[in-house]
Amino acid sequence: MSAQLNALFSDSYVDISQYRDQHFKGNRYEQEKLLKQSSTLYVGNLSFYTTEEQVYELFSKSGDVKRIIIGLDKVKKTACGFCFVEYYTRADAENAMRYINGTRLDDRIIRTDWDAGFKEGRQYGRGKSGGQVRDEYRQDYDPARGGYGKITQLQRAPEPRHKF
């Protein structure tokens, strides 16, 4: 009929980001293909105290949620501030990217990104201390994410000197 005006009607909230999972089993092309078909979202910047129920409530606003997997500290096995949200359809996940990404959950601006699909083991943080990598290196104080970043914590509380 007529042109589709692609330049004008972009859908940038739904585009895949620059992030690629370094542990992904497969090449870049395969990962990108999965990302573009995925109905699973990674959700980051959660408070450690955010519950599965809260995530369900918020993400149900863009469609029926199939499954939520709360991200865990590998050592402590407690929530460490991220999760996966899987929808039954891609369309519902796209609406979450358009309308829930960048809004607040538990008073924090959360960030959603496409995920290639949950696999056992991916629910654990990959930081050296057990939590997420970002919590290793950050220097700010965030009471909802265990206070200071892990490295900063160690710097602030140096090894106690042995007194005689």
Binding site: A7, E53, L58, T103
Partner: protein
């Protein structure tokens, strides 16, 4: 290990993909960009930008004419909010190149025919409007436009066509008049008067029984919720009285008048409206949503009146902007706030009104609900000094008018407000709403606050809610969402029948017992329904269900995931226990008993149980309408469960239907392929097998579809049967007690029934025969369906069903 070549990767939607560097495509992109973004982010005036662009395009015409035509046709259809910018551009091009102007008009007419054939009626309106504005730009001769309008209006004489068809043609004419009324009246006033008289006659005789079902408020004060054609007619009448003086629309072509009036005009070819087809889906009628008037914007520019044509144009344009940019909330907010002419109107009020109008639209908003929440947040970010106040004022007004607001709209308000608050630390002046504390809890205002707090709690946690409201609001605070397990010492459960088995089951589960082992343990549970266990303990045993499920849910109470795992692990046991319909009903009762303080948990468990076929949709409907749930019947969570159940049922049917269609297509393709490739012997042998397999599959799927449709029909039957029973009981009770039947409960009930009909009228229409026979020919009820004169197909008319005692004395209740 990539099994594909990279050149196979050909997915669309990536605007920054590396393109082949061949020139024509780059140039098409450039042309598209130039045209689409004309006037944006420029220090020069719109007029000089248009002048420049016209020059560029004129130069490109010899080589890129068809591309330019295509792009201009597209902007006419897809960017209606910038209508006059592009008609000016076309006007300038026509002045420089008469042939191009003619070809463009022809292309537009072709496009109009195609959009009408494709049921894209909303876009077709924009095309008609574009053609009209081309009259203002001296591209199209006014008399030929009037002739087209005459053909449009002649549709109202057609017999045996749906009213919505005539509505559309009338709307297409009326809604273009703000742009072109003046010009057409100057050239052809006699003909135009005749047209308007015909329209007047049509509007007076058309049916408007749909109106009460679409209104957001039942009260006419402070603003009546007008039927859309009535409102538009009033606006056009006023415009006519003002001698078609319209000052709001931005008209860049005025600056080019000297150039444009030198241009030669084209005549529109005679346009016959395509005949009505059975599969046509015309737009639904609608109601004009108004919540503000000039008294509400205290300072600054005055809000145009409800029957001013300015109001129509502003609302149209704002709706169009949302329609264009719904995917990109930041762009959408920016575009809304940079509406041309914004300094002369209280733009924030218009924007808020238009957004709420869409959010509350019945039966459904044009976009998903959450989009409006996020859009309003973006708008607050862009205008932090002014928009939040308008939003707060709007919220206050909506609260004040809750008593007459449609229940479904209240639901949306609850969801919007709670989600909005959760983005702003739940800050609200709750004390302003202290008036609700003295009212009965079933009245709309306290009910609203209660439901809002419940939703707020779901997005946070119980203590947070306790902290954010004044202590006076404690009666409205939701219950602490903890579970109730009956087989404990603390709750005096030791004397309950089945207590011992509950302990045994609990231990068994903790020791990782299998499904069979659990069933063995459960054999010890006596059956209160039977004197003698004559069927070996296999029949419906409510106590068994209670003992098992209460214990299981107790052990798995920690989180949703734990509960889902538990349901999955003991799926077998649950299937055995819920084989009968009574079993299914009872399991829902037990879920409610355990989790009645945590409606969200009930909802997700019911959802899971439907999806894993532990219960079916009809059982959920029966449970919701059962006496056990009567006291929660008006609570939002109950209806969210029912709506979700209906949705799941519909999706299930659609899924199997699609599988059937796909298999049929596959078979067809195979058969075609074989026909084409000639008749080789071994191909025939294989294909017979393949055919046979596919045919078998199709047969199986056909059965599956029929069975699913039967389940779907049964679900609606259950729902309507139970509704009618409840409503009848209520009416009888009120009559004998000589009380007014129109209680808050009744309003809630009727409006929910209405909503189910509106939402699912297409599906329900399929089963209308059965429903009419079984439900509505009972002596007490009559049903009036829409005067849908095209009998074979729904064609966007829906049944109007709301209940009121029949106005004549026949004693029948009429679902009018």
């Amino acid at each position: 290990m990539s099994r594909r070549r990279h050149s196979d990767e050909n997915d669309g939607g990536q605007s920054h993909k590396r393109r082949r560097t061949s020139e024509p495509i780059e140039i098409e992109d450039r042309l598209e960009s130039l045209i689409c973004r004309v006037g944006e982010k420029s220090t020069s005036s719109l007029e000089s930008n248009l002048e420049g662009l016209a020059g560029v395009l004129e130069a490109d015409l010899p080589n890129y004419k068809s591309k330019i035509l295509r792009i201009l046709c597209a902007v006419a259809r897809l960017l209606p909010e910038k209508l006059t910018v592009y008609t000016t551009l076309v006007g300038l091009l026509n002045a420089r190149n008469y042939n191009f102007g003619g070809e463009f008009v022809e292309a537009m007419i072709r496009q109009l025919k195609e959009t009408l054939k494709s049921n894209l009626y909303n876009e077709a309106v924009y095309l008609v409007r574009f053609l009209c504005d081309l009259v203002n730009c001296h591209v199209i001769a006014a008399p030929s436009m009037v002739a087209m309008f005459e053909n449009f209006v002649s549709v109202i004489q057609e017999e045996d066509v749906p009213q919505v068809r005539c509505d559309w043609y009338v709307y297409a004419v009326l809604s273009s008049l703000p742009w072109v009324g003046k010009e057409l009246y100057e050239k052809k006033d006699v003909e135009m008067d005749r047209l308007l008289n015909q329209i007047d006659g049509y509007l007076k005789r058309r049916q408007k029984t749909h109106l009460p079902m679409l209104q957001v408020w039942t009260a006419d004060k402070p603003h009546p919720q007008e039927e859309y054609l009535d409102c538009l007619w009033a606006q056009i009448q006023k415009l006519k009285k003002d001698r078609w003086q319209e000052r709001h629309i931005l008209r860049p072509y005025i600056a080019f008048d000297s150039v444009l009036c030198e241009a030669l005009q084209h005549n529109l070819p005679p346009f016959t409206p395509p005949p009505h087809m059975d599969d046509a889906t015309y737009p639904m009628p609608r109601v004009v949503f108004r919540m503000f008037d000039y008294t509400d914007a205290p300072e600054g520019p005055v809000m145009p009146g409800s029957h001013s044509v300015e109001r129509f144009v502003i609302e149209e344009n704002l709706h169009c902007i949302i329609k264009s940019h719904w995917r990109e909330r930041k762009t959408c907010a920016a575009q809304l706030l940079s509406y041309p002419g914004k300094n002369k109107i209280p733009l924030n009020y218009h924007i808020v009104e238009v957004i709420f109008g869409e959010l509350f639209q019945l039966p459904s908003p044009p976009n998903i609900d959450v989009m409006y929440t996020t859009l309003l947040i973006e708008l607050c970010k862009l205008q932090p000094g002014s928009l939040p106040q308008v939003l707060a004022q709007a919220t206050e007004m909506l609260y004040m008018r809750l008593d007459s607001m449609n229940t479904t709209c209240i639901d949306r308000l609850i969801n919007w407000f709670s989600h909005h608050l959760s983005n702003f630390q739940f800050r609200w002046s709750w004390d302003d709403w202290a008036d609700c504390l003295t009212q009965d809890l079933e009245k709309p205002k306290p009910k609203f606050v209660k439901e809002v707090l419940e939703k707020c709690m779901r997005l946070s946690y119980h203590q947070r809610i306790v902290d954010i409201v004044p202590p006076t609001f404690s009666a409205l605070i939701p219950a602490n969402p903890i579970y109730m397990y009956k087989y404990t010492e603390e709750s005096n459960g030791t004397s309950l029948p089945g207590y011992a088995v509950a302990i045994a089951v609990s231990n068994a589960i903790k020791n990782r017992a299998s499904n069979d082992e659990i069933l063995t343990v459960l054999k010890d549970v006596p059956n209160p329904n039977q004197e003698v266990d004559d069927d070996g303990g296999e029949g419906f045993n409510p106590l068994k269900i209670e003992v098992f499920l209460q214990t299981l849910l107790n052990l798995a109470a920690k989180s949703f995931s734990h509960s889902f795992s538990a349901l999955a692990k003991f799926h077998e046991v649950l299937k055995v226990l819920t084989e009968s319909d009574e079993g299914k009903l009872h399991i829902l009762r037990v879920v409610y008993e355990v989790w009645r303080n945590h409606p969200q948990m009930i909802a997700v468990l019911v959802d899971k149980m439907i999806r894993t076929q532990i219960v079916d949709c009809a059982a959920v409907a029966n449970w919701i309408f059962s006496p056990d749930m009567a006291h929660d019947f008006t609570r939002l969570y109950v209806w969210e469960i029912l709506y979700s159940t209906i949705r799941k049922m519909n999706k299930h049917v659609q899924k199997i239907q699609k599988e059937l269609e796909d298999s049929k297509e596959k078979l067809e393709k195979l058969q075609l392929k074989r026909k084409d490739s000639g008749d080789e012997e071994d191909m025939e042998k294989n294909s017979d097998e393949e055919d046979g397999q596919l045919e078998e599959q199709i047969e199986r799927l056909q059965e599956k579809v029929e069975s699913a449709q039967s389940e779907q029909k049964n679900l609606f039957l259950v729902i309507f049967q139970r509704f009618i029973m409840m409503l009848t009981e209520h009416l009888v009770r009120c009559e004998t007690g000589s009380v007014d039947f129109n209680t808050p409960w009744y309003k809630n009930c009727i409006e929910r029934l209405q909503q189910i009909f509106l939402m699912h009228h297409v599906t329900i229409q399929q089963y209308m025969g059965t429903l009419e026979n079984l439900l509505f020919t009972a002596e007490n009820w009559t049903i009036t369906s829409w005067p849908c004169t095209s009998s074979s197909v729904p064609c966007s008319m829906y049944l109007s069903l709301f209940c009121s005692p029949c106005s004549c004395e026949c004693g029948k209740q009429s679902l009018v």
